[in-house]
């Protein structure tokens, strides 16, 4: 149990960390996909099956695709498909400092605080329960999310397609 968690944790952090360091954009994206898959595995480990599959479907199946597509569409030349120039030193230092500070604060908090934890069985939640919940108490949220999704999708298409000079680009999702 703990071992599985440790393994997943190392996988997630390592792949995300390496992804952020790499210069090759495609490698970064693929490593991040691995990290997201690790998150899905964590959900599975925690017993949230439905969420895990949803995470896989959305992140590995959809978002990664869109990201890779964007990488290919915005590449500058065939030769340097995916290389990004490194950040300047000042920028890197500032960014890392900020992130380090946030991390320090968060980590210290986590280590110091003692949350009351539940003991006993892992909670079970079936697809049926989720369905009932979505259609019952959470129906308003579901509707809002639906509207947001629709609007953002239409917006994305409009943003990506309304290029003054673009003629007949491929239909983009």
């Amino acid at each position: 149990m703990t071992f599985a968690f440790a393994f997943l944790a190392v996988l997630m952090v390592a792949s995300a960390g390496v992804a952020m360091l790499l210069r090759n954009l495609i490698h970064s994206a693929l490593l991040l996909v691995l990290s997201w898959a690790g998150v899905a595995a964590f959900y599975l480990w925690a017993g949230a099956q439905f969420v895990a599959f949803a995470q896989l479907l959305v992140y590995v199946g959809a978002i990664s695709m869109v990201v890779l597509f964007a990488v290919l569409l915005t590449r500058r030349s065939a030769g340097s498909v995916a290389d990004v120039e490194p950040a300047t030193f000042a920028r890197a230092a500032a960014g890392l400092l900020a992130a380090g500070l946030v991390g320090g604060v968060l980590g210290a908090t986590m280590l110091r605080s003692h949350f009351p934890t539940a003991t006993g069985e892992a909670p079970k939640i079936s697809v049926h329960d989720i369905g009932v919940d979505l259609m019952g108490p959470q129906v308003a949220a579901l509707l809002v999310v639906g509207v947001i999704l629709t609007v953002s999708l239409i917006g994305a298409v409009v943003i990506a397609a309304t290029d003054p000079a673009a003629t007949d680009k491929e239909d983009k999702p």
């Binding site: 099956q49 439905f50 599959f53 959809a62 290919l72």
Partner: protein
């Protein structure tokens, strides 16, 4: 997969489970479930790898016959008696396998070595994972997940990534174009595929594959099976599902990523030897998995079409239906030319998605009108169900094929 076989089933039905219980019986209780799981995985791997090998031959034979050729018929199995060493070219898969294994594995110098290696591995792994949730028979499902359909698509998502990895890592312009095509195609067809499955989930009220098969059990009037494909929305959903499945598994007429006449072999251009064979295998696995899902969702899974035919064990029924779908795949491949990229995406977004959405409403109507009393009303219900999907088909179809029509020609005076 660890539940004991119910004794009510016939002996043939229980054979696989009995074998499993026999083997797991050798192991101590605590690790039996592990052994059972491994056994299931191994069985799937062996069975489907064998089917894959035979399918490659079958496909070549069928396409050859469609083209009025005999197809591969030289390579036999030399140790088979009375065949003069050549029986229907049955040794061809074996010979192909040996060839693929012994061929030099060429990796282009500028290729992304790691991704180039990982792509086929990831592809086969993910396409094999999808088999886990398909119920091959009455009691034959490796993992009876609550959210099995979701799992299927989640695992299938990985294969798209692998195709992209292959195309991109090869460092070849054709492969890069193929990678772009693969991405656009897979994104476009994921949606109609999912949307065509949603009505099934809606009417069965379950995401679990076994539950969906169970929802199709029984016979109307004692002989018409209650398979979803026999209802108007089910038939439409099945057709949409099938078209999207053709695209998802990169089969003709949607084989744009590997379009031989344009991109040579697309993302496979720089693959050789065993890695190429893995891609090939994954393509067939993908095809079989999607066909299996289609059988499960629309064609009643492992259920027999008639009550009297239930003597035949369920896994054979599943196999027969699977073969039927795969033959359909092959038949279509032997007939149709390829679409162009923009037409491919247009077909998905402007035709399949709207139809799938309409079909969703159709399924809802079907569900709500289930209680209409009397045969005449049921007939009306059926007619409405058909009309709701056929009329939009005509309207959208006419818009889709606007400007494209057979022509008449004039002759010089």
């Amino acid at each position: 997969m660890t539940a004991p076989a119910p004794l009510t089933d016939s002996f043939l039905e229980r054979v696989p489970l009995l074998v499993r219980d026999f083997i797991t019986g050798w192991f101590p209780e605590p690790i039996r479930w592990v052994v059972a799981g491994l056994l299931a995985a191994l069985t799937i791997l062996l069975v489907f790898a064998t089917i894959f090998a035979l399918l490659t031959l079958l496909e070549r034979k069928i396409i050859a016959r469609v083209q009025n050729r005999p197809g591969p018929n030289r390579t036999g199995l030399p140790w088979l008696p009375f065949t003069e060493g050549r029986v229907f070219g049955l040794g061809q898969p074996l010979a192909d396998g040996i060839k693929a294994l012994t061929k030099e594995d060429i990796v282009p110098r500028d290729a992304d070595q790691v991704l180039h290696f990982l792509a086929p591995v990831v592809l086969v792994a993910f396409s094999l994972m999808t088999f886990a949730v398909i119920p091959f028979g009455r009691n034959l499902v490796s993992v009876d997940l609550d959210a099995a359909v979701l799992f299927f698509f989640a695992a299938g998502a990985g294969t798209e990534l692998a195709v992209f990895m292959a195309g991109w890592s090869s460092h070849n312009k054709y492969s890069l174009l193929a990678a772009m095509r693969a991405l656009a195609q897979l994104i476009s067809y994921e949606l109609p595929l999912l949307l065509s499955v949603v009505p099934v989930v809606m009417l069965a009220g379950k995401l679990s594959t076994t539950g969906i098969v169970a929802a199709q059990a029984g016979w109307k009037f004692g002989f018409i099976p209650r398979w979803f494909v026999l209802s108007p929305w089910g038939a439409a959903g099945f057709v949409i599902f099938f078209i999207a499945a053709l695209a998802e598994s990169n089969r003709s007429p949607f084989d744009l990523p590997e379009a031989e006449s344009e991109l040579i072999a697309g993302h496979l251009t720089e693959y050789s030897g065993f890695k190429y064979a893995l891609f090939f295998m994954a393509e067939y696995f993908g095809m079989m998995a999607l066909s299996g899902l289609g059988v499960t969702l629309f064609l009643g899974g492992w259920q027999a079409p008639l009550p009297v035919l239930e003597v035949i064990p369920s896994y054979l029924w599943f196999g027969a239906k699977l073969m039927l779908l795969i033959l359909l795949f092959m038949w279509i491949r032997a007939t149709l030319p390829r679409l162009r990229m923009d037409q491919l995406t247009r077909l998905a977004w402007k035709f399949l998605v709207p139809l799938a959405l309409i079909n969703l409403g159709n399924a809802a109507f079907w569900h709500l009108s289930a209680a209409w009393p009397g045969l005449p009303l049921q007939a009306v219900r059926y007619a409405i169900g058909v009309a709701v999907i056929v009329i939009p088909f005509f309207l959208i179809g006419r818009r889709l094929s606007a400007g494209v029509a057979p022509r008449t020609y004039r002759y010089a005076p």
